[in-house]
Structure formats: C-alpha cells, structure tokens
Symmetry: C2
Subunit: 201 residues, 2 copies
C-alpha cells in the first residue's frame, strides 16, 4: 500500500479514475492531476456532462439502447429506414455500426448473447420486444449483426428460429477478409469463408 500523495479527496478521485476502462493505477494519477490542473476547462464540463447523464439515462423501452431519452435518439430519428432492423448484442455494437456509417436503420439491442455456461438464456435477453416489433409489420429485413463467436452464432440461430414465421428476411453480416488485413495473418476459417463468398471483380 503506497502512502497517499495528496489529501483523501484527491486520493479518492485517483482510485475512482483507475476503475475507468483504459486507465490503470498510474495513468489514473496522471489523469487526476490533469483534471485538477484543468479544473475549469475540463473537470467542470465533465462534471456537468455527468450531471446531464446521471439520473436521466435509461434503457430505451423500444430497442434496449441507452440514452437520456426514452424512446432513444435512434428510435425517434424519422430519417432512418424503419424497414431494416439491425439486431446487436450490446450498445457498444450499435455504436460501432453507427461509426461505420454504412447503415441508416433502426436497431434492437439484445443485451447480451445466449451463454448457458454464464446462465444467460433467452429470458435474459431482450427477445420478447424484438418479436413484437417484427410482428408490428413495418420491418421487412432483420440483419443479425452478432459476433462471429460461438455464443454470437448460437444467438443468431436462435433468433432466426424465433422469427421464422414472421415473414421477414433474416440476414447476417458477411464473413471475409477484414479491410486492410493481410492474408497470411488470417485464420483458416476466415479465409475459407472469404473463398466461399467470393464475388466477381
């Protein structure tokens, strides 16, 4: 246990910052000192941003996204194509797809993937609302944007079965060579999938 370098208030700030992903014990000290030095320019606005989010953020009742409004900013965005519903495991996946900028669709966040070993069964996921949304009639295509992991693929199969009688097209993301990826670093499964799904040049 190293001795405290400052009063208990600053020590507590350092300890809390060390729990933020991306910051370790050492970088938390650097971050704390920077925040203290830039308290007007950075700490005060950050405290304000926390205040905006704290107590206001909630899980969207329609899609499971996290936002300060419910329904969330994505659900109330009327410029999005309502006929395409993208199913993701987590809010972080929704954010990643939005960053890619290749979609202008609505989302549905399952809140995880099926994982019997971790005790996550269908009842733990946001599936009832998904079926209800798809039954609503507006959706024409459900894109299962789930990870290419065992849990992700198990979940994809389960959702496909669940939506079998809904009369919607169910699609999944393509497998293939990552953009910028070098062939000899890729695993055999990815290469085989890329060969099978080859397209004309």
């Amino acid at each position: 246990m190293p001795r405290s370098v400052a009063g208990p208030e600053i020590e507590r700030l350092i300890q809390l910052l060390a729990r933020v992903p991306g910051l370790g014990p050492r970088s938390a000290r650097r971050a704390a000192l920077h925040l203290i030095k830039k308290r007007e320019q950075l700490m005060a606005p950050l405290a304000g941003a926390f205040g905006e989010v704290l107590g206001k953020v909630s899980t969207c009742r329609v899609c499971g996204n996290l936002d300060v409004r419910d329904p969330c900013s994505v659900c109330i965005d009327e410029t999005r194509d309502e006929t395409l519903l993208v199913v993701v495991a987590d809010v972080s996946d929704l954010w990643a797809l939005e960053r890619a900028g290749a979609l202008n669709a609505k989302y549905h966040v399952l809140g995880g993937t099926l994982s019997p070993l971790d005790g996550i069964g269908p009842d733990e996921l946001n599936l009832k609302t998904l079926v209800a949304r798809v039954h609503g009639g507006t959706v024409k295509e459900v894109l299962l944007a789930l990870g290419a992991t065992v849990d992700g693929q198990t979940t994809a199969h389960y959702v496909t079965e669940l939506l079998r009688d809904c009369g919607v097209k169910v699609t999944r993301l393509a497998h293939g060579v990552p953009v910028g990826g070098e062939l000899d670093y890729l695993d055999e499964g990815t290469l085989a999938a890329a060969i099978r799904a080859r397209t004309s040049f």
Copy 2:
C-alpha cells in the same frame, strides 16, 4: 465527421472523456459506455469526487502543491521531517517521489523549470517563497529533485546560487543505472555518471 452514436448529452460526455490523458477517441467511447452502464457504482461516485475537488482545490500558499486544503496535506503533516526540503518542478514529481516512499520530508513545488525559450524565467517560478522558507531557519538540507534535462539542471544551478548564502546543505538526486535497467540499453551519459559515482560493494 462520424455521425453521432447517441444523443448530444452522451456525445458530449464522449468528447470530454477523449480529452483526459490516457484516453483517446476510441477508448473514450468505451469509457463513456462503461460509465453509463455503471452509473450508480462509478459515475455517481466520480461526480461526487469531482464535486469534492472542484472549487475547493487550490495551490498551497506554502509549498505550491495542489490540494483541497491550504496549507496542503503535506505541509500540515507534522510527522514529516521539516529540516529536509525537497524542491520539485511539478506536483506530478511530488507525487512520484511520494510513491517511491523513500522520503518523509516537506516539499516545495516550483511550478516548472527555467526555460528561456518558453518564456519561463525566475519570476514565473515559485522561488521567492522558497528563499523565504529556507531563510526561516528550520530547513537544514535542500534536495533538488529536478529532472536530468537541460532545463532541470539549469534550474538546479540557479536555485543553488540563490541559496548560496542561506547556510543550508544543497543536494541533488544521484545519477546512475535505473533499478531493473539493462546496461546495453543505457545511454553513455548515464553509464559515465554511474561509473564516476561507483560505490563499494
């Protein structure tokens, strides 16, 4: 400009987090999502810690340290040896020395090093209070814990001159091989200093 992945409140949180040292644009998103998910366990306590520090932290009038009390926690700590005064450039250096745990002394934070090119002269540093403290009569030794850089050494020489007639012992940190360091990665200057300052085994 990527499109926003969430409402403006969460986007603003991400943008502010990206300005924290140690977090980049991508890790700021991960940090923001983690903070939102753990809003009760992490964001609320962090907001509280900000509140404890904001508006209360100030520069210690005695030593130049940053703390929520003035004089600071280090200056009011009566278990510390008042006869040893450690001069550092920045609060981060004070923190680093405290982590080492090898000192139980008082500190004096200059607030930088002399750097004519950056317009930092003696008047920009916390030197008047240093001379006053040393003239106070309690201090027996002044340890100049300044970086082994050109600016750090220039500052050390300047402070030594400044304290020449004060009747105190002025010392500096030893140069040598870093603990855990391998010889063939070390620069010649460090090796030469380590040889000159060799000690009996």
